[in-house]
Amino acid sequence: MATETLTIGKALNTGLRRAMERDDKVILMGEDIGKLGGVFRITDGLQKDFGEERVIDTPLAEAGIVGTAIGLALRGYRPVCEIQFDGFVYPAYDQIVCQVAKFRYRSRGNVTLPMVIRIPFGGGIGAVEHHSESPEAYFAHTAGLKVVSCSSPEDAHFMIQQAIASDDPVIFFEPKRRYWEKGPVDTSLGLDAAAPLHSSRVVRPGTDATIVAYGPMVKTSLDAATAAAEDGRSLEVIDLRSLSPLDMGPVYDSVRRTGRLVVVHEAPGNIGLGAEISARVTEECFYSLEAPVLRVTGYNTPYPASRLEEEYLPDLDRVLDAVDRSFGW
């Protein structure tokens, strides 16, 4: 046991370090990840310790980052790409959707592309445009990709290592507004001790209604559950962790018990993760539902100027409001 208190950012950093120690084919690529350690310092100190051959400051072009990472993976490397902000992943979209996602399938299993694409995502940090996006649905809708998001230091530390160890390409969404949240991590544990990468998890048990969230909204949902408890309402909170594939078992179990479900995410609701979860839960738990699945999401507008984001983003009140509406159905 060597439990430390780490921020999510630092837990990612130690996770990357472990992965690089474990396998010298693991290389990091991205903009400003070397001396600067990335704009969020997630790769802090790694170039110093592993050298410029393994921590590569790339030219400023995201298609280039992902496209060359594919070639490096074909050559036997395990590239971990950093996209500086959510809003800058789109120049790489073609390479991700047409190449990364399909390479294994097209080659009938001859090609394995063990790549990770790290994307700090979500809003709430007072940033200018393109720095607060939640593009996860674009990737989760894409067959051939796996998509995950962490919400705690412990998950950050282990999930990034699991993603790197995975032989499938993984899009790894980091909840940037939570980078500074702290929690305990036992960094002495191996990956075997961690929960499977593609499993969802009940992070707070409850009996009256279920909340499903992921990434930055897990904390919001937990806060909502705490507040609801004061009003005598017991909310069960589930952290999806894996956005593709979804691990729906714990969600179905929960909804069968509670009869009510609220899904929370920052991304616009229209054709988002919440829609899929609603559709599946309705299909699987049709006779258990006391009310339709409700969604609390970012509005269906472009992400607004930062002085509007507090109202734009789901918060504790909006989650509780949805819970109320569910009970009022």
Partner: protein, 383 residues
């Protein structure tokens, strides 16, 4: 500044007069040395009247002062972030003043100096960096596009706009229109920028690509983007490239004016590399001590764009102490006004979240606006 003939088209840069200082300067067009000496250039000599020189000086000082004020406002929590132009004043003022009224500019997020020369209220970018809006000015009416943060994207917009200028028959004469696209050294690596080169070459668009090579893309030095000088990129696409001393407002003016006039006369695109230096941090969120040494910054301090123009004005007796004082004082007043206006800037009304998503509306947005308003009203009810 006499308008002069558009300069003949040329590829590559000429060796500029070397001024005394170390380290050796790269090859570029220079008309004014760091110590304030005028240099002649066979192709790019422009005569400036004393009044014009004073005007440029005033621009440089004002632009720097406003920028410094914005940085201070950010430090005090009044702006979310600020991308300072410190050190790049000459590149921006020179390029901005070289534009004619009818010309259209496509900036990045750092072109506050160009914005100023377009006559746009300098408060405009501050609302963006404060988080009040995402660009308050009318880009078409002001002939100055919205700031573009996604690196390189605007170069294609500029190219398309220039294709439209040509389609409108607004090239080939002296009063034709030209377009200028701004971007950084880092941006040259983006596919979009290279596609813009291709399109503007193929369609012979009236455009100037103005690259401020400030030596860094955040922490990454130039050699992460290219092994050869940036202006030489143009040769691969079949149009001329030229490097200019980006800290020399006279040279930037002359080179940009010539390139814009070439464009408006129907001679197609030019790539200008303005060789300069980002004296401050990338943005106020950045910590440049992590990736560069102070001696480098000091070396560039010696090439300051304002000091050299002041030296020239003094040497040529084109301006005296009174003038310099007055300019400083006027800039100070402008900065104070800027500050006051930022401090009193109202936050946007929440319902703006739902404004202007579509020109012709959307039932989904309308429904959400309604829900939102009802939800907000529920709090007023006395929660």
């Amino acid at each position: 500044m006499t308008k002069g003939e558009p300069a003949p088209r040329r590829s590559g840069a000429t060796r500029a007069g070397r001024s005394g200082g170390t380290p050796p300067e790269p090859e570029y067009v220079q008309l004014l040395t760091p110590s304030g000496e005028r240099v002649n250039h066979p192709e790019y000599s422009v005569d400036f009247t004393a009044e014009e020189l004073r005007g440029l000086y005033r621009d440089l000082v004002t632009v720097r002062k406003l920028d410094t004020e914005a940085t201070a406002l950010q430090r005090q929590g009044e702006l979310g972030i600020w991308a300072s132009l410190l050190g790049q004043e000459a590149a921006q003022v020179g390029a901005g003043r070289a534009m004619r009224t009818q010309d259209m500019a496509f900036p990045t997020y750092r072109e506050h100096g160009v914005l100023y020369t377009r006559g746009i209220d300098p408060i405009m970018p501050l609302s963006l960096f404060r988080g009040v809006d995402q660009g308050g000015w009318d880009p078409v009416a002001n002939k100055f596009n919205l700031y573009t943060i996604v690196i390189g994207a605007q170069t294609l917009h500029a190219t398309g706009y220039a294709m439209g200028v040509a389609k409108d028959g607004k090239v080939g004469t002296d009063d034709g229109e030209a377009v200028i696209a701004f971007f950084g050294d880092g941006a040259t690596s983006q596919g979009d920028v290279n596609e813009a080169f291709i399109w503007s070459s193929v369609f012979h668009a009236p455009i100037v690509f103005f690259c401020q090579n400030n030596q860094y893309a955040i922490s990454e030095p130039l050699e992460r983007q290219t092994r050869i000088p940036i202006y030489q990129r143009a040769a691969g696409f079949g149009f001329p490239g030229v490097r200019v001393d980006g800290n020399d407002v006279l040279a930037v003016y002359a080179v940009t004016r010539a390139a814009l006039d070439n464009a408006r006369l129907g001679q197609g695109p030019t790539l200008i590399e303005a060789y300069t230096y980002r004296m401050g941090a990338h943005t106020t969120s950045d910590d440049p001590t992590r990736y560069r040494v102070s001696s480098e910054v000091e070396a560039w301090q010696a090439k300051d764009p304002i000091a050299r123009l002041k030296a020239l004005l003094v040497k040529e007796k084109a301006a005296g102490e009174d003038f310099f004082k007055q300019v400083d004082e006027d800039a100070r007043i402008e900065a104070v006004s800027l500050r006051e206006r930022v401090l009193s800037m109202p936050d946007p009304d929440h319902s703006q979240i739902f404004d202007h998503v579509y020109a012709e509306g959307s039932p989904l947005v309308d429904a959400e606006r309604k829900q939102f308003e009802a939800y907000m009203a529920s709090f007023e009810g006395g929660h």
